[in-house]
């Protein structure tokens, strides 16, 4: 892996994942929460890629491709839900969307 330490890349993936979790927790807007979920998926993909590069196997990139497909499906359904919620409630604030009394 020509000089790049696997520990550092794993640390970067962990930092990105934590940033995604922090984003999900601190934001009140559904769009930002979806963006933070994307950040977390990217961090997981980075971990897979670096593991695949460590042993020079293609499985890491294949898992990344599946993560990509999953993210695309998730984003399309999530954004359709966001549009529908906005049309019904005129707001994207999760504190105002309390239909389920959660």
């Amino acid at each position: 892996m020509n000089g790049i330490s696997i520990n550092m890349v794993m640390l970067l993936a962990a930092i990105l994942f934590v940033l995604g979790i922090v984003g999900v927790i601190i934001r009140k807007n559904i769009i930002f929460m979806l963006l933070s979920v994307e950040i977390m998926l990217n961090a997981a993909g980075l971990a897979f890629i670096v593991a695949g590069a460590k042993w020079a196997q293609p499985d890491g990139q294949i898992m990344f491709i599946f993560i990509l497909a999953m993210a695309a499906a998730e984003v399309s359904v999530g954004l359709a839900l966001i549009l529908q919620v906005y049309h019904q409630h005129k707001s994207l604030d999760i504190d105002k969307l309390r239909e389920m009394r959660g």
């Binding site: 550092m8 890629i49 599946f66 954004l79």
Partner: protein, 177 residues
């Protein structure tokens, strides 16, 4: 090589931090695109050139455009014009521009270098190997991913359609059919 990785990792972390702290969704999206581009550069340095391509084309190209479309759909209003004027100030785009200029300089350096360690890492995984592995041992997973994407498309089309509100109870049957 390591210094290039550390610069890129720093850009990734900074732009991701800015994503989760911006108040305006479009600013956050700009920084998220920068973060994805720098992650693609890291994938390239790790020898996963195919994954780097997919990251740029699908993530930064397709999924982010989907986000931008939805944000534009949600912002249709009288205040859109002033908002556009506000968003196009240099303060808005200078941050992502600087970060992506650093990435671009790094990319130029990586392309122009003569050291084969940069453009052909020792344990790089070729796209051919990935494709062979994808369509031989993992072919069932590919089919499952296709079904997942199909379900995603159908689900998004079903959720996203507008139901016409009909207030007259006798007209309801005709409007729905």
């Amino acid at each position: 090589m390591e210094i290039a990785f550390y610069i890129t990792a720093f850009i990734t972390i900074v732009s991701t931090l800015l994503v989760i702290t911006r108040h305006n969704p479009v600013h956050a999206l700009l920084y998220l695109v920068v973060s994805l581009l720098s992650l693609a550069l890291i994938f390239f340095m790790l020898g996963a050139a195919f994954a780097a391509l997919l990251e740029v084309i699908i993530y930064a190209g397709a999924i982010m455009v989907l986000f931008i479309f939805v944000i534009m759909l949600l912002n249709l209003g009288k205040e859109t014009a002033e908002q556009e004027k506000k968003w196009l100030r240099p303060k808005v785009w200078v941050g992502p521009a600087i970060l992506s200029l650093v990435l671009f300089a790094e990319l130029c350096f990586l392309i122009n270098t003569d050291d084969p360690a940069f453009y052909k890492p020792e344990n790089a995984v070729e796209p051919k190997v990935v494709a062979i592995s994808l369509f031989q041992p993992y072919v069932i997973a590919v089919e499952l991913a296709a079904m997942l994407l199909m379900a995603g498309v159908v689900g998004a089309a079903h959720i996203g359609q507008h139901k016409k509100m009909v207030h007259h109870r006798f007209l309801k049957e005709e409007e729905l059919s």
